[in-house]
């Protein structure tokens, strides 16, 4: 019968991603599969996905400095974070929803979960936002630079400043949740979550300061592109 799949995806680049088990990040030890994954042939279930439909029902909410709806502005270093969402072939992915969440300028999350870290909360900052890429695959958030915060993984452990990013992408297999880090953060070499990424691909998580993005008298600019698993390159040509 004819192949009902419209878009085939290349193999996931597992070697570019962190392993399931990375003992320096202690919680991975009991939360990682022990058996090998089972390889399956892609079907429409894997090559479709909620990304396009989910982006259609989403509303832009890309200014985290004001979206608490209090009429007030979040406190902290105002920044712009922008970049492009591409697939592995370098093609921009328009209409892609990015959902983000982050700590406030003091390293506190507006979440009910208790923590021993006494970071003040900012009533004018929720720390969540979303944005949909334009025709060139460009997204743009205005937010506050998040503060570092301690966690219990090992003695005196501190997470580098980061913003959580979630993208559904065009297909189920392109689902990505990741974290943006900031160029020059001295905590990066000490962080087992960042270091869980193989050395050759780790720097892909680092946003670069970009003076062209910086807006005079307003906000510093950071640039970070995101690359999602893409469709398999041009199908193999038959020999003639």
């Amino acid at each position: 019968m004819t192949d009902p799949i419209v878009t085939h995806y290349g193999p996931k680049a597992y070697d570019d991603h962190p392993p399931f088990r990375y003992p320096d990040y202690k919680s991975t030890v009991k939360r990682s599969p022990e058996m090998d994954m089972v390889h399956i042939v892609q079907t429409l279930s894997e090559t479709s996905g909620p990304g396009p439909a989910w982006a259609e029902v989403a509303e832009e909410d890309a200014d985290l400095t004001t979206n608490a709806g209090t009429g007030g502005e979040a406190i902290g270093e105002r920044i712009i974070v922008t970049g492009r969402v591409l697939d592995e072939n370098g093609e921009p992915l328009p209409g892609t929803l990015l959902e983000i969440w982050q700590a406030n300028a003091c390293g506190g999350y507006s979440h009910w979960r208790e923590t021993a870290f006494p970071a003040p909360l900012d009533p004018n900052f929720l720390g969540v936002g979303q944005c949909i890429t334009d025709e060139e695959g460009v997204y743009r958030f205005t937010t506050i630079k998040p503060g570092p915060y301690p966690w219990g993984n090992h003695p005196n452990a501190w997470r580098p400043a980061h913003i959580h990013f979630s993208l559904m992408g065009p297909a189920w297999g392109s689902r990505l949740v990741t974290q943006l880090y900031f160029q020059g953060d001295p905590l990066l070499p000490l962080d087992p979550i960042y270091n869980g990424v193989p050395a050759h691909s780790r720097e892909r998580l680092i946003a670069a300061y970009d003076h062209d993005v910086t807006v005079e008298n307003w906000a510093l600019g950071w640039r970070w592109d995101i690359v999602l698993r893409g469709s398999a390159a041009t199908p193999f040509e038959e020999d003639h």
Partner: protein, 195 residues
């Protein structure tokens, strides 16, 4: 292609529910959406059999007619249903590691050869303590015949297939309740897919 390598995955961490998996995202079908109403419930368990209190479960499925709401599903002869995207999210309950979804039973979708697959729901699981997501599927215990023919299930070692089959609670009616646990390690480790 080196300059366009995949952006690596990172953990969702403990605070993802600020954005992902909040209230209401685990109910997929509005009233009036065609199909058999079902409820899926389960627990996410770590390598010690202890519940995972901060996991994110996301599901993606076809509607009752077997159509995905996606541009690549070009079978225009099967209608899409208003009020049904086919995507849901749940965070596990902090105290129990339990999750649930209310949805409709998906219809059959084609496999790679154009034959029908058994009804199934696609699942991705992430959590604090996971640097990379895992993908699996939910099949249904009352679809024995279709499950036996299913191309994907037949790629799974026979003795592990049961980890992908949600068990119908025979006493349940409207919605039918199915139980599907996600188990990370040990003898009952859930099958996770690479595709």
């Amino acid at each position: 292609m080196a300059e366009h390598g995949e952006t690596p995955s990172q953990t969702v961490g403990p605070y993802f529910s600020m954005r992902l998996g909040g209230a209401g995202q685990n109910v997929l079908a509005e009233a009036g959406v065609p199909g058999e109403r079902i409820r899926i419930e389960g627990t996410v368990l770590d390598g010690d059999g202890v519940h995972i209190e901060d996991a994110l479960i996301e599901i993606w499925q076809a509607n009752a007619g077997g159509r995905y709401r996606h541009p690549d599903d070009i079978r225009g002869e099967i209608a899409l249903d208003d009020g049904f995207v086919g995507f849901g999210r749940a965070e596990t309950e902090f105290a129990t590691g339990g999750y649930w979804f209310e949805t409709i039973k998906p219809g059959p979708v084609p496999d790679a050869e154009g034959e029908f697959q058994a009804p199934h729901i696609n699942v991705v699981v992430q959590a604090r303590g996971m640097l990379t997501p895992v993908f699996t599927r939910i099949y249904f215990s009352d679809e024995d015949e279709a499950n036996r023919q299913d191309q994907v299930l037949n790629q799974v070692p026979r003795e592990r297939r049961h980890t992908l089959v949600a068990r119908l609670d025979e006493a349940s009616r409207d919605p039918s309740v199915y139980r599907f646990d996600v188990v990370f390690q040990g003898g009952g480790e859930t099958v996770f897919f690479d595709f």
